[in-house]
């Protein structure tokens, strides 16, 4: 009984220093690890799509080997993007109200529509137009359950005439063009959810959507690089070094722009030194020391920046195996760094009182809805979906129609 009581007291006692509003003295932040994962996953979707757009819209031929993988990556992550949001709601059974009776001044309400638009009108449609010819071909030669899946996905459109294929290519191109601003909108909106909260000096920032978009592009390219290398390793293929070097180049430039804008944000905060500055200093020096200085700045930005930057200068002098390892390490570290960045934004914004007179603590639990086990499950889920999608739509055993996003038909368009 005594032990129970002691545990209860330890559990209930809020960990804070200084003065926090009484309602802020809750044991855990209102938005926990799930809300860290939500912008992380959404960012990966947007970034992976931008990566794919480099091939289709910007005609970067070197990246063709990763076009479809990028699109499937975007889809598998997008399918999981709303799960963390849903699980953290007090009343998940009422979630449909966001779509049924949206409150139009709320960033969160509009996100539902932006998400639906991106999933239904951009990603699924573009994938369908891109895959249609292949699906028709595969449906002819595949039997069993897979055959049924391919036949179902053709939606009964089996026309393989020149005009039909030209329309596929044209539609794919148009959707890609529409998709770029949509991807920006999707993740910019997530940034706006935080950036629009003027009550919180850590969040309320006009640069927040821009920072979210740029870090999304960085993380998306890093994820595609990671996935491509893992997939080739699993399949015992040789890595297309031209493709990998190009990805590393885009990753480097995206990282430079992202780091520059984040630095601008910090310079502005330090120079302006507004009301909440002293509490923000405490955050950097104490509360977020490891995740911000080591996670986001060193692991996620500085080291990859040096590795990828040196490759831009000395690419020809670095042997291929070392280059591969350097790029893989950079991509992995960026993925960790961007996760740390989301943590710093979401959790960091809740580690100080809005009275600006005190700070709270947060220790991530193992179990529970907001625990790291749940987070790990939610972060693994898109990879499981991606494995299924790759088996179905990027299988080596499937005959290829030699169809690329920039084939002759597309060129005519």
């Amino acid at each position: 009984m005594t032990n129970e009581m002691t545990n209860l007291v330890v559990e209930v006692l809020p960990r804070f220093e200084g003065y926090v509003y009484p309602n802020e003295g809750i044991p855990h932040p209102l938005w926990g690890f799930l809300i860290v994962i939500y912008p992380y996953i959404t960012g990966l979707v947007a970034g992976a799509f931008i990566m794919a757009s480099l091939v289709r819209v910007f005609k970067v031929k070197a990246l063709e080997p990763v076009y479809r993988l990028s699109m499937l990556t975007a889809l598998s992550f997008l399918l999981c993007a709303t799960l963390p949001l849903l699980f953290h709601l007090g009343h998940p059974e009422r979630c449909y109200e966001i779509m049924m009776t949206p409150h139009l001044t709320s960033p969160m309400a509009i996100f539902g529509f932006v998400y639906a638009w991106y999933l239904m009108a951009v990603l699924l449609l573009e994938l369908w137009f891109d895959y249609r010819q292949d699906l028709v071909e595969w449906a002819k030669v595949t039997r069993g359950f897979k055959g049924i899946v391919y036949r179902a996905f053709t939606l009964g459109v089996t026309d393989e005439s020149y005009e039909a294929l030209a329309l596929d290519a044209k539609m794919g191109w148009i959707l890609s063009i529409v998709g770029i601003p949509s991807a920006f909108l999707l993740h910019g909106y997530v940034g706006f959810i935080f950036g629009s909260i003027k009550a919180n000096p850590w969040w309320g920032n006009v640069l927040m959507p821009i920072i979210f978009i740029l870090s999304a592009i960085v993380s998306g390219i890093a994820l595609c690089t990671f996935n491509y290398m893992v997939l080739t390793w699993i399949r015992r293929h040789t890595v297309d070094m031209r493709c990998l070097d190009t990805m590393a180049m885009f990753l480097f430039y995206a990282l430079v722009v992202d780091a520059a804008v984040e630095a601008l944000d910090w310079i502005h905060r330090i120079y302006a030194a507004e009301e909440g500055f002293s509490v923000l200093k405490t955050m950097i020096r104490e509360k977020l020391f490891y995740t911000l200085n080591l996670g986001q700045a060193t692991t996620g930005t500085l080291i990859p920046w040096l590795l990828l930057g040196s490759l831009q200068l000395l690419r020809k002098r670095v042997p291929e195996p070392i280059r591969r390892r350097m790029i893989f390490a950079s991509a992995f570290m960026i993925l960790i760094g961007v996760l740390a960045m989301r943590w710093n934004v979401v959790i960091g914004g809740q580690l100080f009182s809005k009275s600006l007179r005190g700070v709270m603590g947060y220790k991530l639990e193992f179990a529970g809805v907001e625990g790291w086990l749940m987070g790990l499950v939610l972060l693994s889920l898109p990879f499981i979906i991606l494995t299924v999608l790759v088996k179905l739509f990027l299988s080596e055993r499937l005959p290829s129609s030699e169809h690329t996003p920039q084939d002759s038909v597309a060129a005519e368009v």
Binding site: P14, Y21, P22, N23, I26, L30, G90, H91, S196, K354
Partner: protein
């Protein structure tokens, strides 16, 4: 018969789509109006919110920090035990500056143990070092431009025409966005209902001609409550206005609170 797309049919279809969009927004407005009728506010059916404009004023110099208002609020509204408060009292202790430091004042110590519900312990500094000490009651600031209403994704939080900011508990999805958006820390996620909760000015009482519980119980009349649309010349709220210069919390955020304070210090946020 094959339908042909020509200019006429295109214009007809476009017109139809635009008409459809307009109908959709009208339907939404109608639905919102119906919801407004059935919203769970706790007011009696004959109460007309458009005939009132509620206002709360607080005289900081009168508050003695007894905590009765916090206790009354918890009991009246069934506020859960623990760190959940619809109203609370903060104690500010501003110490004297060190001699020769060149500062106007020393350190500012703020506390609110259990929301001030059971009063306050003795000051943590000796009395002769205290320059100023005062209590500040806090509650929902009844903002004209409420950030919490603005961000609610489903419209469960809304501005009532009488100035109260209310939450429909049957509609709230418990996302916590309003809690993040409130600059004053006035909202919490109820561990019982899993919805957002806050001060409603005791809406079930004021709509029946009673005062909010905290105002009713305050022994020093530090909280003054009134109806601006029905205030006579001798109404306490008018007197308060005449006798004091008033201030609001965090005015730089542009929320235009309608909880007005007299005797506020710059340290109060």
């Amino acid at each position: 018969m094959k339908a042909r797309l020509n200019r006429r049919s295109a214009i007809t279809r476009l017109g139809g789509a635009i008409a459809g969009l307009f109908t959709l927004s009208a339907a939404r407005a109608a639905k919102a109006a119906v919801q407004q009728m059935f919203v769970a506010s706790g007011a009696p059916k004959d109460y007309d919110p458009s005939k009132h404009k509620w206002l709360m004023c607080i005289d900081v110099n009168r508050c003695i920090g007894c905590g009765l208002c916090v206790e009354a609020c918890k009991k009246e509204n069934g506020v859960p035990e623990g760190p959940y408060f619809r109203t609370w009292i903060e104690r500010y202790i501003i110490t004297k500056p060190e001699p020769g430091s060149g500062k106007t004042r020393g350190e500012t110590l703020v506390d609110s143990p259990n929301g001030g519900m059971h009063g306050f312990p003795p000051p943590p500094v000796p009395k002769d070092q205290v320059e100023h000490s005062f209590f500040v009651p806090k509650l929902c600031n009844l903002c004209e431009h409420s950030p919490c209403v603005q961000v609610c994704p489903v419209g469960a939080t809304f501005d009532a025409p009488d100035g109260a900011v209310l939450i429909d508990p049957k509609y709230c999805i418990g996302c916590g966005f309003c809690i993040q958006a409130c600059p004053y820390g006035c909202r919490f996620l109820s561990p019982v209902t899993h919805t957002a909760e806050k001060c409603t000015l005791c809406y079930h009482r004021i709509t029946r001609g009673l005062k909010p519980a905290c105002v009713e119980i305050c022994p020093t009349q530090a909280r003054i409550f009134g109806d601006l649309k029905n205030a006579g010349p001798d109404d306490p709220i008018r007197k308060f206005y005449e006798n004091n210069r008033v201030q609001v919390l965090k005015p730089h955020l542009g929320t235009e609170p309608r909880v007005l304070y007299a005797g506020l210090d710059k340290e109060v946020r």
